[in-house]
Amino acid sequence: MTTRERWWAAVAYAGLAVAIAGTCGLMLTSHGTPGLRPAAAAQLDTQAAFPAPTAPIVAALPSGQPAAVAAPATLSIPEIGVSTRLTSLGLTAQGTVQVPPTTSVAGWYSHSPRPGAVGPAIILGHIDSLSGPGVFFRLPTLRPGDPVYLRRADGSTVEFVVTRVQTYLKARFPTEEVYGPTPDAELRLITCGGAFDASTSHYLSNIVVYATEAA
């Protein structure tokens, strides 16, 4: 074997070494890392929430006009360890609800009904920040029947009960169903969920928790 041949062989082995190193790199990075987010709670059969009554429900007739309620100040959801003050949110130029300025605080859309008044009060919170969990990180684990408490500016509190938890692709968000008028006092807790699109830095879905005022 001449010096020239040895040189060619060395180059060939160097090329092989590069290719092997590349393969190792590929092997190390070809697996994703699991997310930190907890799995969504299993959907309960909502019919189960309405067992046939053994005795008739005797409804009372309303006594006059409902009293006006104060604006909400804080939100607490013991099941998932949420206790936060509420900022006031408006609309963006695109017509969507503004999001809270920080990921550790939830916000109430101030053009929606006040919690406890007739209609769906709308509350938004982040699921996470760039680095870790946000105030509504565990929102998807709520289940029908879980209580949600709101304290108002005048110190009074109002209790809601979760009726269902839905996941909607943002591209097919049912605006009327989520935000539209209701005949009773309701609550919508909204955060992000589903797949994360790294190219736009947005989640593809919204999680919506529906709740109604406790009887």
């Binding site: 041949e5 060619w8 060395a10 060939a12 082995y13 160097a14 090329g15 092989l16 590069v18 290719a19 590349g22 393969t23 790199g25 590929l26 070809s30 997310g35 987010r37 959907q43 019919q47 309405f50 046939a52 008739p56 429900i57 005797v58 409804a59 009372a60 007739l61 969507t96 609800v97 999001v99 859309y109 053009h111 929606s112 209609g119 938004l124 982040h126 699921i127 996470d128 969990p133 509504f136 839905q166 996941t167 692709l169 943002k170 097919r172 968000f173 009327e176 935000y179 539209g180 008028p181 005949p183 955060t191 992000c192 589903g194 994360f196 790294a198 989640y203 879905s205 919204n206 529906y210």
Partner: protein, 293 residues
């Protein structure tokens, strides 16, 4: 020849390894996004007595085919309207008996109502006592953007026809007794509702906010016409559009990174090895030729 054989075998092994690594990643593109279509399964129904000369009644709401009444309203008199009652979607029958009558006694009046999930209904007992009937109305639960919805129920028997206006807008003209208008969109605000019938009339200040839905009921009061304002439903004064960007991805599952940079490195290495292998072979071939000469 040992070098050549080694290089060729190593290149083949590498190509096989890369294919094994990339193929599953490329095929793992199954979508995980989706929306639950589970239905809430709940609707609303409310009941009202709007027959001026019919005495008070007990109102029973039965789930269809179920003899056990789901809801009983006792001693419902003229002008009484129940709150909306949340009930599982399904078919119901409404039965009315004289106030205090035994629950098993034959009802004076029955009607059926089909309650759909997410929808609201009003069952009205209307007309004179001699022609009493129950009508079930499907109540609107959406408003045109920035507007309020309002409808009128005419339940005054003393005034066979009434005209109802809100501010400058006429909501109903010469509306006959026991009739109901459809919902009409109006500009929101604080206005005066005026009910007139000949020389008689009534006025009442009514506030209609954007996104709210109302029913105005015209009644025979103790001192002439009366108007009652019911808030059927309420929503946001400015309806938001679509969802919200409430996450930055700090806790999102990370998908596999693009294999392209590593594939480029591998291809470069393979090309280098293959090129050098070829050079080595040509070199040997040339040496063999020259030694043969």
């Amino acid at each position: 020849m040992k070098h050549l054989w080694n290089i060729r075998r190593a290149v083949l092994l590498l190509v096989a390894a890369v294919l094994l690594l990339v193929a599953p990643a490329a095929s793992a593109t199954a979508s995980t996004a989706g929306s639950s279509t589970a239905n809430a399964g709940t609707g609303w129904i409310r009941l009202a007595h709007l027959s001026p000369n019919t005495p008070a009644v007990d109102v029973y709401l039965y789930s269809f085919g179920n003899p056990d009444a789901k809801i009983v309203l006792h001693h419902v008199g003229y002008g009484d309207v129940s709150p909306y009652l949340a009930v599982p979607a399904g078919e119901y029958s409404v039965a009315m008996r004289g106030a205090g009558a035994a629950p098993g006694s034959p009802p004076v009046l029955t009607a059926s109502a089909w309650v759909q999930a997410g929808s609201a209904y009003t069952a009205l007992a209307v007309g004179p006592r001699t022609d009493l009937r129950v009508r079930v109305y499907h109540d609107d639960l959406s408003t045109p953007s920035g507007r309020a919805l309002v409808r009128v129920v005419q339940a005054s028997m003393k005034h066979p026809q009434v005209t109802v206006s809100w501010g400058g807008a006429v909501l109903a003209s010469k509306l006959p007794f026991a009739s109901v208008t459809s919902y009409q969109p109006v500009a929101p605000g604080d206005q005066r509702v005026a009910v007139t019938s000949g020389a008689d009339g009534a006025k009442s200040a009514v506030s209609l906010t954007a996104g709210s839905i109302h029913t105005l009921i015209v009644l025979d009061g103790a001192k002439g016409l009366e108007v009652v304002n019911l808030e059927d439903a309420d929503g946001s004064s400015q309806l938001p559009q679509g969802g919200a960007q409430t996450g930055f991805g700090g806790t999102a599952p990370r998908g596999p990174e693009s294999p392209l940079p590593w594939l480029t490195v591998i291809a470069g290495g393979v090309a280098l090895a293959a090129g050098a292998g070829l050079g080595l072979r040509r070199r040997r071939f040339g040496r063999a030729l020259s030694s043969a000469a």
